[in-house]
């Protein structure tokens, strides 16, 4: 009997250690998963972010755009529900809310390309604020056009009158030339065109399952240990 107790003690310790390890692991995995799997933040909105001189030389920020920002970063009154067109508190005239959805908008942010302005419905609504940034004063019809999509703007650019408009804009408006001469600012570092995709998101479900499984395994080990103790006590009583 005594010998049995001596042999069981290390295994009991090992079992408890393993159970604790499983439990801790499961808890960590669950915690990490729940943190990562938090659904879209309802207090965030999508903003097209512009840079450079506010109101004068605003150009679309490179890289990821629109950006997902907290409502608190808008200039509207606190406590008021954000709306499309609300200004982002970066001082730029053109940085405005373009979507309130959780998912990123699929429409590209409006940009200035080759001196021809591309406007969105949101910008149309805030046309007063953005008028100074319009680089095509000689072709107001371009900005007044009702179609805000990139494709529509591309049509304007590529249609036969476009070269004339571009030429006129370039001749009359220095910013158009500046846009064409922006190429030297292009560095030779590789663009970031890779990513993992939804792999991490897909694994969250697996993480949760494994976490739950580990905790269950820990519970089973603990239960087995309790049963073993009871049997031992019972055998000792006998």
């Amino acid at each position: 009997m005594t010998r049995t107790i001596h042999v069981a003690a290390p295994s009991r310790v090992a079992a408890l250690l393993v159970a604790a390890s499983f439990a801790a692991t499961g808890a960590c995995v669950l915690a990490a998963s729940s943190a990562a799997a938090t659904p879209g933040d309802p207090h965030k909105v999508w903003v097209c972010k512009y840079v450079h001189k506010p109101g004068e030389d605003e150009v679309l920020k490179g890289g990821k755009n629109p950006i997902h920002v907290d409502e608190a970063a808008l200039t509207n009154d606190r406590g008021v529900e954000p709306q499309l067109g609300d200004s982002f508190s970066d001082g730029q005239f053109r940085s405005v809310v373009v979507s309130l959805d959780e998912e990123a908008p699929t429409t590209a942010c409006p940009t200035d390309a080759n001196g021809v302005r591309v406007a969105t419905a949101v910008e149309t609504a805030t046309a007063t604020a953005t008028a100074t940034a319009t680089p095509t004063p000689s072709t107001p019809a371009t900005t007044a056009g009702p179609t805000p999509t990139v494709d529509a703007a591309a049509t304007e650019l590529g249609s036969p009158p476009a070269p004339v408009a571009l030429g006129a804009a370039a001749a009359a408006d220095p910013p158009a030339t500046a846009a064409l001469e922006a190429a030297p600012a292009l560095g030779d570092a590789a663009p970031h065109t890779g990513g993992e995709g939804q792999v991490a998101a897909e694994s969250r479900t697996g993480d949760v399952l494994v976490g739950a499984g580990l905790i269950a395994a820990a519970g089973a080990l603990g239960g087995a240990e309790v049963l073993r103790r009871r049997r031992r006590r019972a055998s000792e009583v006998d």
Partner: protein
């Protein structure tokens, strides 16, 4: 506890998901037909078609990458499209059909296969293949792939190639440049360490 740390750091489940995604992506994208249209007219591209790689995607205007820091000379790297299913066109650079300069295009490659380019870009892109841009007026600008740098080191080799080959040249002969990530995967950074680049020259013009 060690097991827990291993799980959290290495995230084998994420890798398992990646493997599953790769399996899903393993089937190569079927080629798409070449596009036919009027002779190329200069303008911003609306679609990019890479028939041999099964790519037919819309275009997103891109600029410089302002997310990452500028280099020592204050220059910024080429931006990338926010929509991973589109091809990015550097709108401050030359336009297809303009007759001069390098038209700069790039696009994403995602491990789950959800982006415009697949991980097989490096192995399927070949000299002689056709890359086309569909212009706003429906005309088509065709380019013949002249050279491919497949899965080169993005940090070390890419800048050298760009500089040596003048791939960002806005004033030289008209060319089309297309880049996307791929090759070695850095699990820690969750991104590729390599990038593939091709250069194409006008065809049929």
């Amino acid at each position: 506890m060690g097991a827990g740390g291993w799980f959290l750091v290495d995230r084998p489940l994420a890798r398992a998901g990646a493997a599953a995604a790769q399996e899903a992506q393993a089937a190569p994208r079927a080629p798409v037909p070449t596009v036919h249209g009027a002779a190329c007219t200069a303008g911003p591209p609306r679609r990019v078609v890479y028939p041999a790689l099964g790519v037919d995607a819309g275009v997103e205007r891109i600029g410089l990458d302002t997310v990452h820091p500028a280099d020592a000379k204050g220059r910024r790297r080429l931006g990338n499209p926010s929509d991973i299913t589109r091809v990015g066109w550097y709108a401050d650079g030359p336009r297809p059909g303009e007759g001069r300069g390098t038209v700069l295009l790039d696009g994403h490659t995602y491990r789950n296969g959800g982006a415009v380019f697949g991980e097989d870009f490096a192995t399927r892109a070949r000299a002689g293949q056709l890359v086309q841009t569909v212009q706003p007026d429906g005309s088509v600008c065709s380019y013949r792939v002249e050279r491919v740098w497949a899965a080169v080191d993005a940090a070390r080799d890419y800048p050298r190639i760009i500089t040596a080959e003048h791939l960002y040249d806005p004033h030289g002969p008209e060319r089309l440049f297309l880049a996307t990530c791929g090759g070695s995967w850095n699990a820690a950074a969750r991104n590729y360490e390599d990038i593939s680049v091709l250069v194409a020259v006008p065809a049929g013009r």
